[in-house]
Assembly symmetry: C2
Homo-oligomer: 291 residues x 2
């Protein structure tokens, strides 16, 4: 692994702040530098000491970085890559923690210099909370982190970044950006859209009676609207395709319910139960989930 | 409140066993009798001592009951009401804990004698777990319990049952059975159908990468398929109507995502976020949820 002296995180929210906190924990000799374009966030980050240094400008934040993590909403990456491009040290690795990967690769290729190496990262961690005050040094522990590469990806940079995330506690998978976006449309973006749809059709008074099932089913709908707007728009084709898929499944269930087809309805519910339980068992075996 | 000497629970699963356990806790002088048609469940219930007595026949289980709770899948109520009808003591209150209420009222009126008083109960508590081994004496603590009544409901029986559930820790709401079924279609039955649809469209390998958001969103899909088949079929018209509503919401989101309408997408996601957060704040104020 390349010797790391400094990592820089641009964007100090739940994910960004958790990266600096985790690095302080797992790489005590590595200097952590953070930057946020909001003065109030920089102030809060300093008070909370989430990084060794909070830079006042984006330029100085990256000047001596070995790895730069962009942890802002996806549609800000274009501008951020343009801003940092002239200031990246040669050999610097640039990555991001965005929930879609095709667009970040596209912008990286368009704006970053050849002397910097871009690899996409997507740590599948987080919560419906937002803000640096929720940053934790164990957020990535036992979470999957998907790294994305194309034909142009530098192999050594990919290796360094893989070792980095493993040391932060992640299980790493490497894939092409478009495969990533297809999978995430199904397992993350579509669930978010569905949770929002499920909440939006409800009536406030009736919701008071909702049980823990509804509370859990809808939890992700409490996630930040601006971040999710970016994510869904950055993966619009695949998310729209996912919506077609869930509508087809809902109509299948609706038909058997209306027909009163007990056998087929129980079969469909049992299939879901078995599939979800297999997932939970897998995650418990991997100690990603603890009973 | 009518003086209680004995309560009987027919059906010893998570809910049934939690009723007897809670009564042992909150009404130490009341005798609890349990019955299950499965010998293995009766044996387990005795080993776990979930009730003072586990009866060997349904007939003797109700013979001296002041309140009978039917806690079996909804479509078994018809047979159960027929079986217990000739053996109910005069003045006995009969209720159930089913997730729909129109059908139970219909069967109660058809099969129960005039000397017994039926009131519908629906404690909105439970989990994806099933079986008497998960029964807890605090399952109903701070949960809503909806009681359903019609023009024929005995006012004193309703009052007794209301006080009973309040003493078990519930917040009680009283409404007509068809209003109950409409509300529950939206806040409980539709979320279950949606979770099942969301799981069924997934691919097992991709699910390994799913994060905590998906785990929570899909939790209720791990609920027992037979119980949910009964619930959905017992409320089929309203559930089918709910599916139409969520499909309409999903299509609205799909349109703005495909159009790339950032403003409208963010407005829809923010509406969901605000509505869910209002629900969570309400539930925290009521101490139904604890941060």
């Amino acid at each position: 692994m390349k010797e790391l002296r400094q990592i820089t995180v641009i964007g100090l929210g739940l994910l960004g702040g958790s990266i600096t906190r985790s690095v302080c924990q797992s790489f005590p000799s590595v200097k952590t530098v953070g930057y946020s374009h909001r003065p109030s966030t920089r102030r809060k980050a300093r008070q909370l000491a989430v990084a060794n240094r909070i830079a006042e400008t984006i330029t100085e934040s990256v000047a001596e970085a070995d790895i730069v993590f962009v942890a802002t909403p996806i549609y800000t990456f274009e501008k951020t890559f343009k801003q940092i491009a002239p200031h990246l040290p040669a050999g610097c690795i640039v990555t991001d923690v965005g929930s879609t990967k095709v667009l970040p690769h596209y912008w990286a290729e368009k704006y970053l210099p050849n002397t910097a190496y871009y690899v996409g990262s997507h740590p599948i961690a987080g919560s419906e909370q937002r803000g640096v005050e929720f940053a934790r040094d164990d957020l990535f522990d036992r979470a999957y982190c998907i790294l994305t590469k194309t034909k142009r990806t530098n192999a050594a940079a990919l290796r360094t970044l893989k070792e980095f995330w493993i040391r932060l506690g992640c299980m790493v998978k490497i894939m092409q950006p478009d495969i990533h976006d297809e999978i995430l449309a199904n397992i993350s973006h579509l669930p978010h859209v569905t949770a929002a749809a499920l909440v939006n059709l409800q009536n406030n008074d009736e919701l008071k009676l909702a049980g823990k099932g509804f509370v859990d089913t809808s939890r992700i709908a409490s996630g930040p609207a601006n971040i999710w707007t970016d994510t869904l728009l950055a993966n619009r084709k695949k998310v729209a395709g996912g919506i077609d898929k869930i509508i087809a499944e809902l109509k299948k269930l609706q038909r058997v319910i209306e027909k009163g087809d007990r056998g087929e309805l129980e079969r469909l519910l049992e299939a879901a139960r078995a599939k979800r339980n297999a997932m939970i068992n897998y995650k418990m075996k991997k100690r990603e989930l603890i009973q």
